[in-house]
Symmetry: C2
Subunit: 419 residues, 2 copies
DNA sequence: CGAACTTTATTCAAAATGTTAAAGAAGTTA
DNA sequence: TAACTTCTTTAACATTTTGAATAAAGTTCG
């Protein structure tokens, strides 16, 4: 590939026809700063081949030489890094409450961020408009040139057809059915967009910047208003045949449990989600259990939220503690089942419940140890995410960025069938 | 690659350094008989490149030209096929009751088969010796030359370290702990061996010769003395990080259910396995339910087996029918949960319960429809295997054969890390 | 200190792998 | 029979990769 072609592709959609460009970039992203010799080891490319490929990538503006690394008894390596401002992506997280947008650089660092209320109750059209404006605002604020923005990634906690870029259904707001978000944004803003479920986007963020960096197989579960989740297999987000894989939230945990809005009974979501925690607390109080919570909501049981239960538990309230423990146990059953099926290295519990911390994590771990197969459970870690509220926007942006680091269709290992 | 190298590799372990040889062989295996033009389409290789690669493979004895295919309005394709007797593999299925061994050709057809009683009660040493002898016997009987036998694949329904080739634990027989089967067989017979869980081997058989041929993502569940299962993802057997992925049998289905010998309570296995069916039937009879089964076992409730329950159900016995229906419902919960997590194209119920047929399948399907997420369940098929008792040996042999059709470590898409 | 050794990076030629354009082969269609 | 398709191969050329040799820049140790 000649220099002209590469330079023409900066800011474009393609890195070049050679998949090894992407492979090298991905190696630098994951293990950088890193020298050429190590790149050769990681990628299985020969040493001499790395030199010209890296030279191309430096000329193209994606890589730069940095300081020298430590010698291992010989010539020290010249460390290579990504050039953070080579390209950018926009990440948007449309949550039930908050609308977040961020400009994210090639190193997956947030450059500029805006957080607003979603005001979803204003209706579909208003929310869409608000989203567009926020995107424009964050681009403006970041001072990044439009031609360096590779795309817009959007995560929302609904059912999404990722391939077509359509939001099939967003439970939180009326009117969000079959909305071709990708097309709308492409037309309005002239930038390509990618849509996905926000939990899946967060899973991606964990694998790039979180506890799961360089972990081959892991599971991510986020407990919030619903239970979102994502599954990472062989270093990639697993979507399944129809694009809906990894739905931990709708696993049947109690055959005779409460009805879920998916139609099933006793889904994990009906037992551990924020509203489920509130409901279970309310039921206990209605049966006459004494608790600090009554004070906290001034007697109005409809005011109970999971946050209040967590706060009460931390202040030593017995009922609240029990509710959270039982919540953890339910979640533990779901996680243990998933561990038996996926045998991952790691399970990450998302930031939605990070305030609960060990209150939730301890019973989860206990149940996993008791219920998952020993060979699988003794090697798995269960941890709480460290990405905080940024996971959503980061992941959404990574939906875009990851294409830069992913080889195109290659001869070897091709799996899909052309007819 | 020159002719000499290729020919030197017939019967050896490597096809050559070019991954596209394996890619083409795999394409012919999956879609053959097939012409060169279609091979080009499937593999994404260019037409002219296919010609010399196929020529090499023909010279090497792996492929042959066959009849002409139907014209699509132009020159008809020269169809290519695998040469069945280019190479062979031995498949061995060490079951609790039966010991099976077969010589299987490159097309995964059984050439010669031997079935014996396992006589596991005679102890580890005897069983091992019996296995060795049976392998030698089946090779002898098949008249296949030893140098054409690429390896021995062994499936057993225990816990297996596939990578090391060690049987960690076989619940059915005492003394089977930490047995380095791969090493033992390699030393005794001088042929390389591969060991795996028999349900995983069966999963492989389904993907090559069964209902799951050319299906990207599917789940296999075999209900027998235990519940074995395997998961196929992106066209490959998924093993997870520790090699124990896909354990559907130990999913918690009833939080307060019976104790399982894995230590957990209410595993799927404790509710739907053959012994579980017998136990549940016995419990019902002990509580005074009237049933044909009592006659069938001549009043001795310890004689109840799942086969008898199925037989009674087929003769219209109400209790037996209800037991089988409830069994199907439990299995359905497990399958529905797995569908939500994996979003497969297909679920195959193994031959172990094929005699029960729709007695089991109907409730499974009903529960899947009710409990799995609609987007996932409306596209999934649930079927009973058509491979019968051969699934085990076939799959075991395919553990060996599949290496012929799998590209080696390639630059592009390399995932593992060399340090 | 300096010679010997390591490790990293590059150069260059040869080998292999792959592509495109064009032509030949063998049918169908009208 | 002529025109058109589709399949396969040829030939010229471009790309990708490797291997051997070399240079660069340290560490190690007598």
């Amino acid at each position: 590939m000649d220099e002209k072609t590469i330079n023409a592709n900066i800011g474009g959609n393609k890195l070049g026809s050679n998949d090894n460009y992407a492979l090298i970039l991905d190696t630098v992203r994951r293990f950088g700063p890193i020298g050429r010799a190590d790149i050769a080891k990681f990628t299985n490319l020969s040493g001499p081949r790395v030199t010209p490929l890296v030279r191309d990538l430096i000329r193209a503006g994606f890589l730069k030489e940095d300081e020298f690394g430590a010698s291992k008894g010989g010539r020290p390596p010249i460390l290579l890094r990504l050039v953070p401002d080579a390209l950018f992506a926009i990440g948007v997280d449309i949550g039930a409450a908050k609308l977040r947008a961020a400009v994210v650089d090639l190193e997956a660092k947030i450059v500029t961020k805006i957080v607003k209320a979603t005001n979803a109750s204003e209706g579909k059209k208003a929310t869409l408009g608000r989203t567009m404006n926020t995107i424009l605002e964050v681009i403006e604020k970041s001072k990044v040139k439009t031609d360096k923005i590779k795309g817009i990634g959007i995560g929302l906690s609904g059912i999404v057809d990722h391939r077509e870029g359509v939001c099939l259904f967003w439970p939180n707001v009326e009117g969000w059915k079959n909305i071709p978000l990708k097309k709308i944004i492409g037309q309005e803003l002239g930038i390509e967009a990618v849509i996905d479920d926000s939990a899946r986007a967060m899973t991606l963020a964990e694998s790039w910047c979180g506890l799961a960096k360089n972990v081959e197989n892991f599971i991510f579960v986020n407990v919030g208003i619903g239970v979102g989740s994502g599954v990472f297999i062989h270093g990639e987000l697993y979507r399944g045949s129809g694009g809906t894989a990894g739905e931990l939230g709708h696993m049947t945990v109690d055959e005779n449990g409460p009805r879920c809005n998916c139609g099933n009974f006793g889904c994990l979501e009906t037992l551990v989600s924020g509203p489920a925690i509130a409901r279970r607390t309310r039921e206990a109080l209605e049966q006459g259990v004494v608790s600090l919570i009554e004070e906290l909501v001034e007697g109005d049981l409809n005011k109970i939220t999971s946050e209040i239960v967590v706060a009460a538990a931390k202040r030593g309230d017995k009922l609240a503690f029990n509710i959270m423990e039982k919540t953890g146990e339910y979640l533990g059953i779901g996680v243990a089942n998933a561990i038996n099926l996926f045998n991952p290295d790691l399970v990450i519990i998302g930031a939605g419940v990070s305030k609960a911390g060990r209150l939730l994590l301890d019973p989860v771990k206990r149940v996993v140890k008791a219920r998952a197969l020993q060979v699988a459970s003794e090697k798995v870690d269960v941890k709480i995410s460290i990405l905080g509220d940024d996971a959503g926007v980061l992941g959404a942006a990574i939906l875009v960025l990851k294409n830069i680091f992913t080889a195109g269709v290659s001869y070897v290992g091709r799996k899909s069938i052309p007819f």
